[in-house]
Amino acid sequence: MLKNLCQKMFGRSLWVYHANSGGCNGCDIEVVNCLTPYYDVERFGIKLVGSPRHADVMLCQGPANRSTANALKRAYEAMPNPKLVFAIGSCACGGGVWFDSYAVLGPAEKIVPVNYYIPGCPPRPEAIIWGVAVAAGLVEKKTAPVTFKQVELPIPRYHPEELKGKGELIVYEKAARPGY
């Protein structure tokens, strides 16, 4: 009874540790912006801590660089279980625009298992709050993969082999494309 009550009351206070493994500092500023009174994330129990040993969540910013990959892995291993990793920004989600550089190994998920992705370059503070709220179960996620398939040919095909032996002039008109 008391355990359930405690889990309900203290279950969603995430202590975050922010690990920059070679980003441009843009995402760091947005993360710090989330902690300001304007977008006060401490009302959800989120608190920035200085050591990975105190943290529940690691906020990864920046790609996995050749020189920082080991440090990122060690910081992840120092966190106590259960632990979550958020990839914030397009560098941590996919490697950034310098993905093909010799120093960049790739996205943060190459080094540590990433649970939540917040794309953006940099993401707005609202986007970071939204991602954290999705993780905490406060809101439903909005994105879903979109697939568009054309079902009919926009232009009639011309088959020279079908025209053999007819002996008449056929004028092909361009059919209206779907959606116009």
Binding site: Y117, P119, T147, F148, I155, H159, P178
Partner: protein, 180 residues
């Protein structure tokens, strides 16, 4: 003195009132100049792949699985929302929306796929040959520096270049002497 300063501080805080926004529970619209996630309109797209060629993050893949079908896949992992694709699209099929609430637990959620029928040649009834990794069709031979072969399964962007390999001509039938 200290009590007086604390009281003055309290008065300043009371005058400011509440500044924290109730963000994740109430929607918030970004400014109109904000560039969010690009939205691909499959009904307007003609499959010219100009967006794929000009994406700085190489996040738009093009693949022709057969002669008449072209698949465009926007992955969005390391998209920096620069808006070059929307600026360049001749049909204005790409719009930079104001969507920023893209936090998700699976990175595939932000991908968009368009499957298009390509217009065929009115004389021969075909598009050009499908590109393959090993053999090169006449269209690819026309390209001077190399050719593109996107890997949709592994979501990779591949560009093979043979231009500056020593001892290899740039195009099969044109020999350019590199050592002058």
């Amino acid at each position: 003195m200290s009590i007086l300063s604390k009281l003055m501080e309290a008065q300043v805080c009371l005058e400011a009132g509440r500044v924290t926004m109730p963000y994740p529970f109430q929607p918030r619209t970004p400014p109109t100049t904000f560039r969010g996630r690009p939205i691909f309109d499959g009904k307007k797209c003609i499959g010219c792949a100009g967006c794929a060629n000009n994406c700085p993050a190489r996040e738009i893949l093009v693949f022709d699985p057969c002669q008449e079908i072209r698949v465009l896949k926007y992955l969005g992992r390391r998209c920096t929302y620069c808006g070059r694709c929307a600026d360049l699209c001749p049909e204005k099929a790409i719009t930079m929306s104001g969507e920023f609430e893209n936090g998700t637990n699976a990175i595939g959620d932000i991908s968009q796929t368009i499957e298009l029928f390509m217009s065929t040649c009115q004389r021969c009834g075909r598009c050009f040959d499908e590109p393959t990794e090993g053999k090169r069709n006449p269209l690819e031979k026309l390209k001077m520096k190399g050719y593109r072969f996107d890997d949709l399964k592994n979501e990779r962007w591949i560009f093979r270049s043979q231009a500056y390999l020593e001892g290899q001509p740039v195009v099969d039938d044109i020999a350019i002497d590199l050592k002058d």
